[in-house]
Amino acid sequence: MAILSKKDSKLILDPLADNNPITIQVLGICSALAITAELKASIVMALSVVFVMGLGNVVISLLRNVIPSKIRIIVQLVVVAALVIVVDQVLKAYAYTLSKTLAVFVGLIITNCIIMGRFEAFALGNGVKRSFLDGIGNAAGYGIILIIVGFFRELLGSGTLLGYAVLGNPIEKTGLYAIGYENNGFMLLSPMALIVVGILIWVQRSRNPALIEEN
């Protein structure tokens, strides 16, 4: 990458895999379990978090020398709340059914531990550009897990992807359903999302043993 120095590109690439906020730091699990039953909702959620986190990190980084440290949490909340409301209103205006599906979870981006964590740990102590890259990177790391989980849950749970019936029609018994295949209803329940995330963590750690903590 010519535009970004090696150090900067690490800010984006690290959270995608070896320092993933979900699978390595195990943060932001609640929303990952709640809204991943459909791939579309996962993608929208991922994009919303990328937006909120990228801009939020920039704002906090700009204000980092002005914010009194005693009230910094309140300031961070105000910033993230403002951004979340923007996302929420845009969704309500342009994708109403989707915002119904996501329901309260868009609002709950405010409480997403990853966002507050990055504000506290990174944006308060780094420049605007680096903070922006860090925000985008972490949000993308969060989003990519959401999309993987959403992909498997929608495919195996409903037999569709983004709403398209890729495995055939379960009622008319076409495609895979003709030979007796059935959708796995367990995939649509939140416990299975936890198990899918668990399997992702398992796969990632067995591919890269350096990630396994010492006891």
Binding site: G180, E182, N184, G185, F186, M187, L189, P191, I195, G198, W202
Partner: protein, 424 residues
């Protein structure tokens, strides 16, 4: 000359040395020790000699399950033909139940379930043993036999295979294999099937052979479980007598119907000291207690016949023991030594709550009038907590006893010595 020829056992012993330190060694050793005692003995350290190793324990449970399995094969046919032709008048066990026709349905329907359960489950075990380089563990021997007995007869084989893979990997291997699992693997498999494919696990079609296949056609047949009937309609106007329920001539999961054979199996397990009688007795007590409470609620007139819980609540409390999977669950699943409570006092609490919660879920779960597997899984999770508090309670009681015992010392020196011991 006979002694010149190598016996099969000798050949295996020799072959074993070829496999030593190879990747497939665990797979080979598993077959080897399944058939014969290994030819090596331990050389160092103190060891307890006991006749009942893990394989023997597992085999004893399987022996207790064989009568249930054979009965279930006859029952599979009996339920099928009863659903097609109507229940025989003047039912006689020898003419209507133990027939070749009935058994044939069992062979084509129940045996494949057993084969798939063992085949897939052992394959997963072998793969994990080879990857992780440990010996194949015996844990699946019993699970593999339990699984086909606790699913509805019409369960498609591929569903069972998927569930077995899930149950063995997520229920057992991720925790470290046999002996480390928190949840009973057989029940994990059952729970997976229940949540993943609810239409195949409940209703009135899946309990008889061909029920699902014929659904919606003029030849449709159904065989509702007694609990399903009670949850839907209320009252007890069904055609099954108490002796039908006790001996098991009723629809239900493959092997759960015959309370009589399960009782015999339970007694066998108690006398061979494989299963805990404390868990069984307390679970029965728990179920009866909850049943009595519900009967009391009905007798007191607190709910009317229009209530959707009336049918199950007014069901005689002792009949809960002979319908559904409660008896099977109590005898073969709740007593699992790995996932159950380990302490004697803990076993009483653990068992009682299993019975109690089972009947509670039966009555209050509108979607599925059976709760044994959920109750046992729930208590599996709580078993370590129960044990923890039982052990803590014992420690506290002994400390108290000790304190009372050392009040007497006269001079300060003795007192100090006693206090020193106490603080250790």
């Amino acid at each position: 000359m006979r002694d010149k020829r190598l016996t099969f056992k000798k050949r295996l012993h020799i072959l074993k040395h070829h496999f030593r330190d190879k990747k497939m060694a665990p797979a080979f050793n598993a077959f080897h020790t399944f058939l014969f005692t290994p030819d090596e003995t331990t050389h160092s350290g103190g060891h307890i000699r006991a006749a009942d190793d893990l394989k023997r324990t597992m085999n004893t449970v399987i022996m207790a399950l064989i009568p249930v399995l054979i009965f279930s094969m006859f029952n599979a046919g009996y339920q099928h033909y009863s659903a097609v032709n109507g229940f025989p008048e003047n039912f006689s066990v020898w003419n209507d139940f133990i027939t070749w026709d009935n058994f044939w349905i069992g062979i084509i329907k129940v045996l494949p379930l057993v084969v798939v359960s063992y085949g897939v489950g052992l394959l997963v075990e072998f793969i994990f043993a080879v990857i992780k380089g440990h010996e194949v563990e015996e844990g699946y021997l019993v699970t593999g036999m339990l699984v086909p007995l606790i699913v509805p007869i019409d369960t498609p084989l591929w569903m069972l295979a998927v569930a077995v893979v899930f149950g063995v990997v997520i229920g057992k291997e991720v925790f470290g294999g046999t002996g480390m699992n928190i949840l009973n693997p057989a029940l994990t498999i059952r729970a997976f099937l229940f949540f993943a494919y609810p239409t195949w696990m409940s209703g009135d079609k899946v309990w008889v052979y061909e029920g699902m296949e014929r659904a919606g056609t003029p030849d449709a047949i159904s065989g509702e479980t007694i609990l399903g009937y009670l949850a839907q309609n209320g009252g007890d106007q069904f055609s099954y007598t108490v002796s039908d329920m006790f001996f098991g001539f009723i629809p239900g999961s493959v092997g759960e119907t015959s309370a009589f054979l399960i009782l015999l199996g339970g007694l066998f397990l108690i006398f061979s000291k494989i299963a805990s009688w404390r868990i069984m007795v307390s679970a029965v007590a728990g179920a009866l207690a909850m049943g009595l409470i519900f009967n009391g609620v009905v007798d007191a007139g607190w709910i009317t016949e229009t209530s959707k819980f009336y049918g199950l609540m007014s069901f005689d409390f002792w009949k809960h023991l002979i319908v559904g999977g409660l008896a099977f669950g109590i005898v073969y699943m709740a007593t699992d030594p790995v996932t159950g409570s380990q302490t004697n006092r803990g076993k009483w609490i653990y068992g009682f709550l299993i019975g109690f919660i089972s009947v509670m879920i039966r009555v209050f779960n509108p979607a599925y009038p059976e709760g044994v597997f959920l109750a046992i899984l729930l208590m599996n999770v709580f078993a370590p907590t129960i044990d923890h508090y039982v052990v803590r309670g014992n420690v506290r009681r002994r400390l108290k006893r000790f304190k009372n015992a050392v009040i007497l010392p006269k001079d300060t020196e003795e007192k100090e010595a006693a206090l020193k011991v106490e603080t250790l």
